[in-house]
């Protein structure tokens, strides 16, 4: 009986120490890990959208809470003007979720760039959405609040050859981004004013 109790006590104490230590480490590394993930996973897409920004969009980010969750916005100061933001959206691709980054100029609500951050599409076919800029570049200059559809569905977006479902996913993601932008625009404008 004594041995039983000893076993339980030792294991309990050991586990609680372990839990405490891990909680402490997690607390101390949380911000750093978030920053690292932003830099290495979403960073390339943000940087290509907000090309020529004189600030660091990853540092100058703000969050807005809305019904569907919390959205992060990355601010780009280009030519001294703080009127361009990039934010995340998502669509469904052929192989799973498609993570998108959509950049918009808040003066005229036009898209300044679209980039794919995470995907699990077929390498060499659907993955072109991320690697071939000619697909995402066609969104540039379009009005973000429009509905986006690939041409085979009667829309305005040229699909990637052999990857219609991926292209549809991206178009859907950008449309979603437009809806989010529409509902949050006043808050985004207010936040951007704080930067000036």
């Amino acid at each position: 009986m004594r041995e039983m109790i000893k076993m339980v006590v030792v294991l309990t104490i050991l586990s609680s120490f372990s839990g405490g230590l891990l909680a402490a480490v997690r607390n101390n590394t949380k911000d750093k890990i978030e920053l690292q993930q932003l830099t290495f996973v979403k960073g390339p897409a943000i940087m290509s959208i907000l090309e020529g920004a004189s600030n660091d969009p990853i540092v100058d980010r703000f969050k807005i809470e809305h019904e569907g969750g919390i959205a992060s916005f990355y601010v780009g100061v280009i030519d001294g003007k703080t009127d361009k933001v990039a934010f995340e959206s998502a669509g469904k691709g052929f192989g799973g979720d498609l993570g998108l980054m959509v950049g918009v100029d808040i003066k005229d609500d036009k898209i300044i760039g679209v980039g794919v951050t995470t995907h699990s599409e077929t390498p060499g076919i659907g993955s072109k959405a991320k690697t071939d800029p000619s697909f995402t570049n066609q969104f540039k200059g379009m009005a973000l609040m429009d509905k986006f559809q690939v041409k085979t569905d009667g829309g305005q977006v040229d699909a990637i050859t052999g990857a219609t479902i991926t292209s549809r996913g991206v178009a859907f993601g950008v449309t979603q981004a437009g809806a989010l932008y529409k509902s949050l625009k006043p808050q985004i404008e207010a936040k951007l004013k704080e930067f000036n």
């Binding site: 230590l21 997690r26 750093k32 890990i33 993930q37 290495f40």
Partner: protein, 201 residues
């Protein structure tokens, strides 16, 4: 019988170098040694876990009841592995992405559990520290050398600190078999053979 502390340390470097002599912990050895850098990163992570768990196990060896010792070892090892995982994510994120699942898998690496069970549970703290450090550095050396051979022949480069260095020049035709999984087995076999040849003299 009683070895000096220096001997406990150096035995891990040659006599009992884990993947080549003990042929233990082969899962990460075969999977992550596509480049030198991956090998060194994995080796250092394992060394840290090995040293910390050895110290803790040996200092708690009088408290840990024999019947639940394996459970206690696993708790200790898993804690340090998670610490390594978090720290790697925070400071060397690209390396973490490459090593991926193999970092959490250090928990079930038989080198780590083996040292706790066979050595730290029966020896003092200083000896266990020397043993952990020796085995860990031996493991790192083994991974780095295997990674170096595979990367050199499979890709013609050596990657140290994120920058691949071309060794053979642009006209080198890569022997890609070496960086694929079967190449790892063949390469490990050849290195074991070499070690035995040198050791038998």
């Amino acid at each position: 019988m009683a070895k000096s502390i220096v001997q406990e340390f150096t035995k891990g470097l040659w006599e009992e170098i884990p993947p080549f002599r003990l042929v233990l912990g082969l899962c990460p050895v075969l999977a992550v040694t596509k480049t030198v850098e991956n090998g060194i990163g994995m080796g250092l992570a394992t060394t840290f876990v090995l040293v910390c768990s050895n110290i803790l196990v040996s200092s708690l060896r009088k408290v840990i009841p024999g019947k639940v010792r394996i459970a206690c070892f696993i708790i200790i090892i898993a804690t340090f592995v998670t610490v390594v995982e978090l720290v790697m994510q925070a400071f060397t994120y690209p390396l973490f992405l490459k090593l991926g699942i193999f970092i959490p898998l250090i928990v079930v690496n038989c080198v780590v559990l083996g040292r706790s069970e066979a050595f730290a549970y029966k020896n003092g703290v200083v000896r266990s520290l020397a043993d952990g450090l020796g085995i860990g550095i031996g493991f790192t050396l083994a991974l780095a050398s295997l990674g170096a051979v595979r990367e050199l022949f499979g890709n013609g480069t050596l990657t140290i600190w994120e920058t691949p260095i071309q060794i053979f020049g642009p006209s080198f035709q890569p022997f890609t078999f070496m960086v694929e999984a079967p190449g790892a087995f063949v390469c490990l076999g050849l290195m074991l053979c070499l070690m035995n040849l040198v050791g038998s003299k």
